[in-house]
């Protein structure tokens, strides 16, 4: 079973939910797919032991001797990763999406593709029963998707998999969610939280994902904004994490609250059982 934790808005508590849930379960993999700023490691405190796998993707290389400056590749590229300047093709690797279209469309075979290092995968298997994996996008790279794809290759179908996604509703968040059996949307009871939750819900519906909501920093007097929306849309509210000083204090020290507040592990285990029931 693969569960992806998402949120439209950043800073709502994806990592809080993903780490606390993972630490409450047996035989579990936690994948930090927020590869532009992975931070689950703050709470998991892994030892990566200097081991990593390099993530490559393909970018075009133009053979100037063969290129006739016909500019078919420039016109084809949706992302402006190629430009024709004074009869020579410039390649901007950071914005290339590695679709390979330019190499295919080139009528004289002047474009080949070469590997470019764009990120790393790191892991720590010593924190039993939790197996931790982290993707990292190199600084200056624009597309996290290939790193997330590579990270997902390490999914063990024998385990429960929790994926911590990137905030937002663009390609990287969708890539993290697309193969999951269930998605948890984390939100907060504010107008911003609601606005971005709406966008995340749209993505869920568009991609046909099974999903429910967790309200983080929940306060009775404010939760109505999310509760009313969810009731209207027929969306399950799976759990509320209160706006509590003790939880914030532990967070500020990099401690997952399930490790210090004994009542919470059973709640996350119950949440998992509920999700299992919803998926079946």
């Amino acid at each position: 079973m693969i569960i992806t934790v998402l949120s439209g808005k950043g800073g709502t508590g994806k990592t809080t939910v993903a780490t606390n849930l993972a630490l409450s379960l047996e035989n579990v993999q936690l994948l930090d797919a927020d590869v532009e700023e992975p931070d689950a490691c703050i709470f998991i405190k892994p030892d990566f032991a200097d081991e990593y796998e390099i993530v490559y993707r393909l970018i075009p290389v133009v053979d100037e001797a063969k290129c006739t400056a016909c500019r078919k590749c420039v016109d084809f590229c949706e992302y402006n990763a190629l430009a024709l300047m004074l009869d020579s093709i410039l390649v901007f690797p950071e914005i290339c999406h590695s679709c390979g279209g330019c190499a295919r469309i080139c009528p004289v075979g002047a474009i080949s593709e070469k590997e470019r290092e764009i990120g790393k995968i790191k892991w720590d298997h010593s924190k039993r029963p939790l197996e931790f994996w982290q993707g990292e996008l190199n600084i200056g790279e624009e597309s996290p998707v290939p790193v997330i794809e590579k990270l997902k290759e390490h999914i063990d179908p024998e385990k429960t998999v929790i994926i911590d996604a990137q905030p937002g509703t663009t390609c990287p968040a969708i890539e993290a969610a697309i193969d999951s059996d269930y998605c948890i949307l984390v939100t907060e009871p504010t107008p911003f939280g609601l606005n971005d939750l709406r966008m995340a819900v749209e993505v869920m519906r568009e991609t046909g994902k099974n999903f429910g909501v967790i309200i983080n920093r929940s306060e009775d007097e404010y939760d109505g904004i999310i509760e009313e929306y969810c009731a209207r849309e027929g969306i399950d509210i799976l759990l509320k994490i209160p706006f509590a000083k003790e939880i914030a204090r532990l967070y500020s020290k990099g401690i997952s609250f399930v490790e210090e507040l004994p009542e919470w592990k059973p709640r996350f285990q119950e949440l998992f059982k509920k999700i299992e029931g919803l998926v079946r």
């Binding site: 402006n80 024709l84 300047m85 950071e94």
Partner: protein, 124 residues
């Protein structure tokens, strides 16, 4: 000689300059001989990425000799330099002002890109 300028609107020489190069709403092409201006709408104004490169390509295709904008990112800078186009950073109110400043020799050519791009922190 033709000069390219990033513009917020397309109301002739009194069009407002846009300090953003790749994400300006319009690109003005001004002929310095007769001060005639024409405008091209920027289809890449809201592109996810590559707006600067797209704008550089457009100006290169129009055979401009120089481009005036507020800021140029690193990719647009490289593309324009490769095409042999001069880059000038200027913050004026209208494109007329920008062209006059250019003609009066008040603008200094940029040697390095004037911002570091928008893809987060970049390594030097």
């Amino acid at each position: 000689m033709l000069i390219g300028i990033s513009a917020s609107d397309n109301r002739g020489l009194d069009a407002k300059m846009d300090s953003r190069f790749g994400r300006a709403n319009f690109f003005a092409i001004v002929d310095t001989e007769n001060m005639e201006a024409r405008f091209i709408e920027n289809s890449a104004a809201s592109a996810d990425s590559g707006a600067g490169v797209g704008a550089a390509q457009l100006f290169a295709d129009q055979n401009v000799a120089a481009v005036i904008s507020g800021d140029f990112g690193p990719k647009a800078f490289i593309a324009l330099k490769t095409a042999g186009i001069e880059l000038y950073s200027y913050r004026g109110s209208t494109i007329r002002e920008a062209v006059e400043a250019y003609k009066n020799g008040e603008l200094r050519e940029l040697g390095v890109s004037s911002n570091n791009g928008h893809a987060g922190f970049r390594q030097v």
